[in-house]
Amino acid sequence: MWLSILGLILGVSLGLLTDIRIPPEYANYLSIAVLAALDTLFGGIRAHLQQVYDDKVFVSGFFFNILLAAGLAFLGVHLGVDLYLAAIFAFGVRLFQNIAVIRRILISKWSDKKEVRESV
């Protein structure tokens, strides 16, 4: 747990401190990678709450989704098709669905606890 928080802090500081300038047209890929990462993260949280969480699936999904999204956007730019829109759409929809599922699970858990406390 502490190691992962340390990793997060390290990553954030590394990202803020890097002075590498990438061409503006590649910023699109980065935004899609961010979306993919967030989607996978929330997917992992949801899976954990639903007790179907699997380490391998989460880690592989995290990196694979990032790479796939960036690759899709890259392909789209080179084909002249706005494929990154597909990635944004898919990840965005899934992100919202995941967050909605998490919210519902949390609410049901909370109300269950309340009921238990009241019954006691």
Binding site: L8, V12, L14, G15, L16, E25, A37
Partner: protein, 241 residues
């Protein structure tokens, strides 16, 4: 003993994997954040160019509007001047008609409009080739003869003159080129028909003065035919060329 150990190792590797995942996540988030922060300034290429385009279009629009404004002001000034003119016209109606007739007359002189009227027609032909003279130059019409006639016509009040139907204006050139003459670059062979619009009797009288143009022409073996009182029409100068 084995199981917890295994479990512990799994937990450690798990947290390492998680730390890597979060490192990557944090890096991506922070990096894109810093990138977007710096992009807001000047790096955003497409938005920047669009902004510039918009700016240039706006400037163009302002320029056009300013131009429109100046033109409108000019138009207003012109309209004011026109109104002044019009009021002046209504004040002096007689003056206006006088000016109009004068303009008509001047246009006729300048040759800007086709004219029609009574006038005199003079035809100059080469003389018959006699056997006693060797030089044929003494028997053909030269441009000097044409000049004489035209000058005489202008002096006696001709309003418009034409040679073989070609209008003469103030800058006309008449050049002798061998057996033909060139009027403003257009060649005319003999006989030359010189038409003049004016008072026919005055024109004819001035040509027929004793020792005048007619006598000189006859002296130079030129056959002159005069026809007065004809209705002559001449084209405008601009319609030719």
């Amino acid at each position: 003993m084995k199981k917890p150990n295994n479990h512990k190792r799994g937990k450690v590797s798990k947290s390492i994997v998680f730390s890597i995942v979060f490192l990557v996540l944090g890096f991506i988030l922070a990096y894109s954040y810093s990138l977007s922060q710096s992009d807001d300034g000047s790096d955003n290429f497409t938005a920047n160019s669009q902004f510039e385009k918009e700016e240039s279009f706006r400037e163009e629009l302002i320029e056009q509007q300013e131009r429109n404004k100046t033109l409108r002001e000019e138009m207003l000034a012109k309209q004011e001047a026109l109104q002044e003119f019009e009021s002046a016209f209504s004040a002096g109606q007689e003056d206006y008609s006088e000016i109009a007739t004068e303009a008509e007359k001047l246009r006729r002189y300048v040759g800007l409009m086709p004219v029609e009227g009574e006038g005199l027609k003079v035809i100059l032909e080469d003389g018959e080739y006699g056997t006693q003279a060797v030089n044929p130059n003494e028997y053909i019409v030269h441009e000097s003869h044409v000049f004489q006639v035209i000058h005489e016509m202008y002096i006696s009040g001709a309003e418009a003159v034409a040679i073989n139907g070609q209008r003469i204006h103030s800058n006309s050139t008449i050049v002798c080129t061998g057996p033909v003459i060139e009027v403003d670059g257009i060649q005319h062979p003999a006989p030359f028909t010189i038409e003049a619009i004016g008072k026919p009797d005055v024109l004819a009288a001035s040509l027929e003065l004793p020792g005048g143009v007619l006598d000189q022409l006859v002296n130079d073996n030129v056959v002159v035919t005069m026809a007065e009182g004809l209705e002559i029409t001449m084209p405008a100068l601009l319609s030719e060329s």
